[in-house]
Amino acid sequence: MTEQELDILHAYSRQTLSESERAELESKLNTDPHWQKLWSDFQLLSKGIEASGDAQIRELIQAAGADFQLQQQQKKRRLWRNLGIAAGLGLLLLIAILWLQQQRQKFQNLERSQHQNPQALLNQQLDDLETRGFGNRGEQASPALLKGLQAIEQQNLSLAIQQLAQVKTKSQQPIAQFFLGLAYAQSGDRSKAIQYWQNMPKDSPEALKKAARYEVSWLYAQHIWTRQRAKAIWAEIARDPRDPHQKDMQKLLEQLR
């Protein structure tokens, strides 16, 4: 194939030959074996080159496809891993919640069965104050103390707090403070109740101090974070032979073990 022959075939393939040139070539292609061979070779070469170009495109597509599939697989793996982590965390959380609920239930049951209601103490105090006077000594109870205790009995807790806070008589302050703690505990103000019960005056009667310690321990028992403190107080009570709750606490600690 000469350069000139190639130019003619190239122009023919691009349909850029004039009408007469095209007719002349087509006549040769029909009759002349030399031109038939040239055209056949030219077509084969053109198709081969085109196929090479196609192969380059296919390589590009396959490479992009392989990367895409890899990314999809990685995405799926990440999704499954995250789902696994989430499921694991969810399970742990569920176990923790169930455990906390179980613990809460256990301590609520304990409180229901073991916590001696301070109502008895309140009734006794009221009875004493109303019949025999303060401290069985005939000392007249301050009206605020009396009203405060009566208000607790009637569950008018705000009035009780207001009245008990007004008790100024030094000898009557420990009992006022104990029942202030009770009024706050019953009104749901746990921290105030603890504050009053933990800071009983030094000269408070021993029985009142022990009662305050006992009540504080049950407030601590209500929450998981302070439950260890409750147990520590119960252990103290269990070791104290003069504490009226010693035996009860010994039993309770035994149950907890």
Binding site: M1, E3, L6, D7, H10, R14, D41, L44, L45, S46, K47, G48, I49, E50, A51, S52, G53, D54, A55, Q56, I57, R58, L60, I61, Q62, A63, A64, G65, D67, F68, Q69
Partner: protein, 184 residues
């Protein structure tokens, strides 16, 4: 954010970012029909590759104008190829689908068939491809511009920094070399 017009240019020029973009943005939509009609994940991958190849070939045709979005075009081609494949495999296609296929084929979309016609010359073409890989990179580029991208001589001269006259000389030399390797 890539514009679709940039992607079209990228696909025409064989730029990798464009192919990655098409996979990311069109694969799921384009293969949705196939996946809803008994196609496997491997089928989706194979038919999408074929459809993307059709798109690139079409884009390189100067007379072709893409009027739909890439994903719509690819969806149509994947669907047509899949229906054609199903019909060849003797699976039942509903009348509505058959009509759709007929319309699509009339519109010149059935590249699959063209591929089969080419298969007769496949061996010879493979030999040319192999010989082609033995040419210099300059001849590669030159012949691909001529017989793959169908650029005219003026465009080739501009792209390769040749004179118009030298384009003809170069074409002759490169083809002659190719023929020599093939023993034609």
């Amino acid at each position: 954010m890539q514009k679709e017009s940039d992607i079209i240019v990228g696909l025409k020029n064989g730029e990798r970012f464009a192919f990655d973009w098409v996979y990311r943005h069109c694969f799921a939509k384009a293969t949705s029909y196939l996946r809803q009609h008994r196609g496997s994940a491997q089928d989706a991958e194979d038919f999408f590759q074929e459809a993307l190849f059709v798109l690139v070939k079409k884009l390189r045709d100067p007379e072709f104008e893409l009027t739909a979005s890439c994903s719509t075009f690819l969806y149509t081609v994947v669907r047509n190829l899949w229906l054609y494949h199903q019909r060849k495999a003797g699976r039942v296609i509903s009348t509505q689908e058959d009509q759709f296929l007929y319309l699509a084929e009339s519109a010149g979309m059935a590249y699959w068939q063209l591929g089969e016609e080419k298969a007769e010359q496949a061996e010879q073409i493979e030999q040319v491809k192999s010989a082609f890989s033995g040419l210099s990179s300059e001849c590669h580029q030159f012949l691909l511009l001529n017989y793959f991208e169908y650029k005219d001589d003026a465009e080739i001269a501009d792209t390769m920094n040749y004179s118009l006259e030298f384009v003809k000389v170069k074409r002759f030399r490169c083809l002659k070399k190719l023929k020599e390797i093939l023993g034609l």
